[in-house]
């Protein structure tokens, strides 16, 4: 498992803070680490406690969904971009099949209730695999002082 600020690509604008990436093998046993990172970032963005808990649950749900479709031995990548009272989470994994998460499921209902925005996509990757990704974004339900 690695937790590291991702290297920004050369062409990216330098003012955006580099996302924090957590890579773990796609196994439910490692989710506590990912949840802890999500909670910590939400705390530091001063999310209210409901929103912190919701982000944790949303990340758990997104990661669990992707672990369910992951190629054997694949790594689960979770990139967190916290800024201005919002945390954007981009979770992706390699899969053998283009299993795009379906939107008429309870899992999707959970994700869309917990996060402000959620999107899923599948793109072809090397050696016939597919990159399945869930991106979600959540802001604190409370803007203090607003």
């Amino acid at each position: 498992m690695t937790v590291s600020p991702s290297e920004p690509a050369m062409a990216e604008p330098t003012f955006a803070p580099a996302p924090i990436e957590v890579r773990v093998s796609a196994n439910a046993a490692h989710l506590s680490v990912v949840r802890a990172v999500a909670a910590d970032l939400a705390m530091r963005e001063d999310f209210d406690l409901d929103s912190i808990a919701d982000l944790k649950l949303a990340v758990d749900e997104a990661c669990s969904t992707l672990i369910g479709v992951a190629t054997r031995g694949a790594a689960l990548s979770c990139r967190f971009s916290p800024s201005a009272g919002r945390v954007v989470v981009d979770v992706s994994v390699l899969a053998d099949e283009p299993h795009e998460p379906k939107q008429d499921t309870f899992g999707w209902r959970v994700l869309s209730t917990l996060a402000d925005e959620v999107t899923a996509s599948t793109t072809p990757a090397d050696s016939g695999k597919h990159l399945v990704r869930i991106e979600l974004s959540k802001a604190s339900g409370t803007v203090v002082g607003a």
């Binding site: 001063d46 406690l49 409901d50 929103s51 379906k102 499921t105 209730t113």
Partner: protein, 259 residues
């Protein structure tokens, strides 16, 4: 273990007379400590062997060897040769018990420093008070201001809260019955539920949940209530709602996967 224990047993029979000698000595006899040292030193390979069996569990090997040695010393002190049991049959479980206790006591959940436990209690009280007053969950900076401590201290206290994950407490509270049926919780025909039902048979799974877990899931995902609102309605803390939701979602995921 059996074959190695058999092997070691063979080599340690020579110590049986030493135990008899030790037992025969007066409790105050200065010769006792020499015999005791001889027995402990002689059986050290047994302690090391047991410590090695617990390797790769994230605990320092030297610490484990020390704990096992402590277990061995206890075993030597408590062994009674009159009972007709050989020393190893008595010592091996004693040493393993000592090592297991070490693992249990050093798991992070019980070694949260006192300062953090106190911060956790202060935060819980502040969350209850602020939620009541504001009608929503507070943020870490609101909690910090309320308690007159730094945000970092609140962060630490909130993180320590994760170590309080208490399955027994959750189970205890789940035994109660607060009478919100699925229909009550859903109120009007829920469109979201109907969407899900076209693909998955969620309702039977919800019906099988303990009443409180079901109520919490339905209110959160089909009733559009926040965790704090649910906590208020069900009469437990927001942190507890959070734990129950997390556990119940995992349970539902597993059940839906099996379909």
């Amino acid at each position: 273990m059996s074959s190695q224990a058999e092997q070691t047993k063979g080599g340690y029979e020579q110590y049986a007379p030493v135990f008899a000698e030790l037992a025969a000595l007066d409790p105050d006899d200065p010769a006792r400590s020499e015999l005791r040292d001889k027995l402990v030193t002689g059986h050290l390979p047994v302690a090391k062997h047991i410590a090695r069996r617990f390797a790769n569990r994230g605990e320092n090997q030297e610490d484990l060897a020390q704990v096992a040695t402590l277990g061995l010393i206890n075993a030597v002190d408590r062994f009674d040769p009159e009972r007709g049991v050989d020393f190893l049959s008595f010592a091996v479980p004693t040493i393993m018990g000592e090592v297991r206790r070490h693992f249990r006591d050093t798991s992070w959940a019980v070694r949260v420093p006192r300062r953090l436990k106190e911060m956790h209690l202060s935060i819980s009280a502040a969350v209850g008070e602020l939620s009541q007053r504001m009608g929503r969950a507070p943020t870490p900076s609101e909690i910090a201001t309320h308690l007159g401590v730094s945000r970092e201290e609140v962060f630490e206290g909130l993180e320590a809260t994760n170590a309080y994950r208490s399955a027994s407490l959750d189970d205890m509270l789940l035994g109660e019955n607060d009478g919100v049926s699925l229909g009550d919780a859903l109120g009007e025909e829920d469109e979201g539920m109907a969407d899900v039902e076209r693909r998955e048979s969620l309702q039977p799974l919800l019906e099988r949940l303990p009443e409180r877990e079901r109520t919490i899931v339905v209110l959160r995902f089909f009733g559009n209530m926040t965790q704090t609102q649910i906590a208020d309605r069900v009469g437990i803390s927001q942190m507890h709602v959070s734990r129950l939701l997390s556990r119940t979602l995992a349970k539902l995921r597993d059940a839906l996967d099996e379909e």
